[in-house]
C-alpha cells in the first residue's frame, strides 16, 4: 500500500458532503480525471448515506469510518459502520429495492455504487455492522 487515510465521524447527514470532499482530496493525489472524481464522490456519498439511514436509523451519535487506500493507481474505499447490518445482501443490492419507501428513497444506492466503481463488495453481519468495500482504477485513460 502506497498511501492511506482513515477518518471517523458521527452519522450526521452534513458529513455526507464532508466524506465526499475528503475522498476527492485523497484521490486527487492519483491525478484522476474530473469524471473519475465525480464517480468517487457519488459512490462514497451513497455508501455513507446508507450507513446513516439504514445502519443507524438516524442515531446521530453512532460513528462511521471512511478509509481510502492507494496502491499504484488503484484506489480502495471502505465505508464501515457498526449498525444493524444487512440481513439479505442480495435484496439490498437489487435496483429499486428500498427497505424505507416511506423516506422516498429511490432504491438505487448500490446500483449507483456498482455503476461508478470497478467493484463493490458488501460484508455485513446483522447486529454487528456493515463494510462496503469499493475499488476503482484511476487514470485508466492515461492523462498526461
Amino acid at each position: 500500500m502506497d498511501n492511506w487515510m482513515e477518518l471517523t465521524f458521527p452519522s450526521l447527514s452534513v458529513n455526507e458532503g464532508f466524506a465526499r470532499a475528503a475522498t476527492a482530496a485523497f484521490a486527487a493525489l492519483l491525478n484522476p480525471t474530473i469524471d473519475e472524481l465525480s464517480d468517487l464522490r457519488t459512490a462514497v456519498s451513497e455508501a455513507v448515506t446508507n450507513a446513516i439511514i439504514h445502519a443507524y436509523g438516524n442515531d446521530r451519535s453512532a460513528m462511521i469510518t471512511l478509509r481510502c487506500e492507494a496502491e499504484g493507481q488503484r484506489l480502495k474505499i471502505v465505508v464501515k459502520d457498526t449498525g444493524c447490518g444487512i440481513a439479505d445482501i442480495e435484496l439490498a443490492r437489487r435496483p429499486f429495492y428500498t427497505s424505507k419507501p416511506e423516506l422516498e428513497r429511490s432504491g438505487m444506492g448500490f446500483a449507483v455504487m456498482e455503476a461508478f466503481m470497478d467493484s463493490v463488495e458488501i460484508e455485513s453481519s446483522p447486529g454487528e455492522g456493515t463494510a462496503v468495500i469499493m475499488e476503482k482504477q484511476i487514470g485508466s485513460i492515461s492523462a498526461s
Binding site: E16, S45, E46, T49, E104, R105, S106, G109
Partner: protein, 101 residues
C-alpha cells in the same frame, strides 16, 4: 439548496442551486411541495444547471415530485443536467417517465 421559482399559468419553472444529496433532500422536497400546493401547477420544469452534485437521494426527490404531478395529470421536465447527473438519470431509467429538455 437554493431555489428560484417562477410561474406562468400552469407552468412552474424551478432552478435549483447547490448539492442535492440526502442531507439537502428533505429541505428541497419541502420547498418544492410548498410550491406544488398550488393545484393550478400542471407542469414543473426543474432546472438543474446549478446543481453541482446529485446522488440517488436526488432521484428520490424527483420521483416523488413526479408522482404528485402525475396524480393531477401534470408533467415533470428536467433540464440543465451535468454529465454526472445525466448518467445517474440514464442508469435509473427515469427518462422513461420524466421529460428532458
Amino acid at each position: 439548496m437554493e431555489i428560484n421559482a417562477s410561474k406562468r399559468g400552469p407552468r412552474l419553472h424551478v432552478k435549483l442551486a447547490g448539492e442535492l444529496d440526502h442531507h439537502s433532500a428533505e429541505q428541497t422536497r419541502n420547498m418544492l411541495d410548498t410550491l406544488l400546493k398550488d393545484i393550478t401547477v400542471r407542469d414543473l420544469t426543474l432546472d438543474l444547471s446549478g446543481v453541482s452534485f446529485m446522488d440517488s437521494a436526488g432521484l428520490g426527490v424527483i420521483l416523488g415530485r413526479y408522482r404528485i404531478l402525475s396524480m393531477r395529470g401534470g408533467h415533470l421536465t428536467v433540464t440543465g443536467m451535468s454529465g454526472a447527473i445525466d448518467r445517474i438519470f440514464r442508469m435509473s431509467g427515469i427518462y422513461a417517465i420524466v421529460d428532458r429538455q
